[in-house]
Symmetry: C2
Subunit: 210 residues, 2 copies
DNA sequence: ACCTCTTTGTGAAATAATGCGCAATCTAAG
DNA sequence: CTTAGATTGCGCATTATTTCACAAAGAGGT
């Protein structure tokens, strides 16, 4: 929903986090929170929280705070999460299987609607409730499914080709788990999750007690 | 290795990426690259690459460029990746299994040396080459293993407790895959990988063709 | 030895993100 | 109806990061 306002990427990234905090609060039957509450409960910065929201309008009431339900609803809407988003998964290995079986996706309105692989031994097999399909079929399959988000869960060596296939199947947003850079047309958005990168950053912060 | 110099976090995050690019270049038998080469080949910004390196000394030769082997070696060393880092895995579900079986970890010198769970049905079972151990044993097990990095791959509801157990077992750096905020002592570093957050950001960028 | 071409490393400028401080707003109580 | 107390939204100062642009350095040819 890239409309008029120019929202900083860090803000966008935090919005999704806020959502998980709100779910938590609802479980605890908290109906109203102030930004200061959120800071002490969930470690987020109160001023930053208010600033983040301010890009999207007014959410709270001075003197009172925020209504948790309303916050959740409005931020879900901002992030296009009110209705279920279909997602294509490419790569039915260990990681693909873990993603396809990852429950929290459903609770946030993402649904993996098809899984693809290029390995003939896997094609036709079940992955949870999905039948693994031939990657060569992706274009025709997605003509029907009309998913706009794709997940790359293949080895690095196959990532670029997978990205191109996703794009040709009309996917516009890609979540890439392969530890490699992929080139894509400028109208496609890519987010990269790299376990190695995260571990490497942690490794940097190891105390040197050798 | 948080020494004197103050390195920006974005720089640190990019360093790990650079490493994967260097591996690629080596496969292609590229011995020398300029920062401009890297920009055209791997989409990284040439000026940013040079600036990133500049926090750690001089790496290249004017008029020539960088020696790929040397770059790789020095950045590995900066990130403490010259010697294998032991990692504890908590959570032997789908995600834990995928991580334990994720080969690229080994090539970057990370080794998962133990897997823990609290589910009696899983304890004692094999997870690839590891035997799943009781989370209650984590302190005594890590007295021997001396791992300093831990991975949380448990459901959100168990993440906080898991974090505390890791800390009590002397882990100082945590990679958290649970979609929830965890409170930890200030001497512990946490990195958070949140699939939902990444998908939510992508979702924001969906064209609204509804 | 000298000139040309290339490319680094890095100050300094430009841009981006964060955090402060407070006027404006709302509630509740007297 | 007024006052006290709480808390938002937001302009602006501060801090962080990226990008620019160029002097210095090295290679290669003549």
């Amino acid at each position: 929903m890239p409309n008029g306002i120019k929202v900083p990427m860090p803000t966008l990234e935090r919005l999704a986090n806020y959502l998980t905090i709100f779910s938590d609060l609802k479980i605890r039957n908290v109906e109203t929170v102030s930004s200061a509450d959120l800071e002490s409960r969930a470690g987020i910065n109160a001023a930053q929280f208010r600033k983040d929201l301010s890009y999207f309008g007014e959410f709270g009431r001075p003197g009172i705070g925020y209504n948790v339900n309303e916050l959740q609803a409005r931020i879900s809407r901002i992030l296009n999460l009110q209705k279920t988003q279909s997602v294509l998964l490419v790569g039915a290995g260990n990681l693909g299987a873990a993603l396809a079986g990852y429950h929290p996706l459903r609770t946030e309105n993402f649904q993996i609607v098809a899984a693809f692989d290029n390995n003939p031994n896997k094609i036709g097999k079940q992955l949870w409730d999905l039948t693994i399909q031939d990657i060569d079929e992706i274009i025709s399959v997605n003509k029907v499914l009309q998913a706009r988000i794709g997940i790359i869960a293949v080895p690095a060596s196959a990532a670029q080709e997978t990205a191109e296939r996703l794009v040709s199947a009309n996917v516009v947003n890609i979540l890439n788990f392969a530890p490699t850079f992929i080139r894509i047309p400028s109208n496609v958005t890519v987010r990269h999750i790299d376990f190695l990168q995260e571990l490497a950053v942690l490794s940097y912060y190891l105390p040197e007690d050798d």
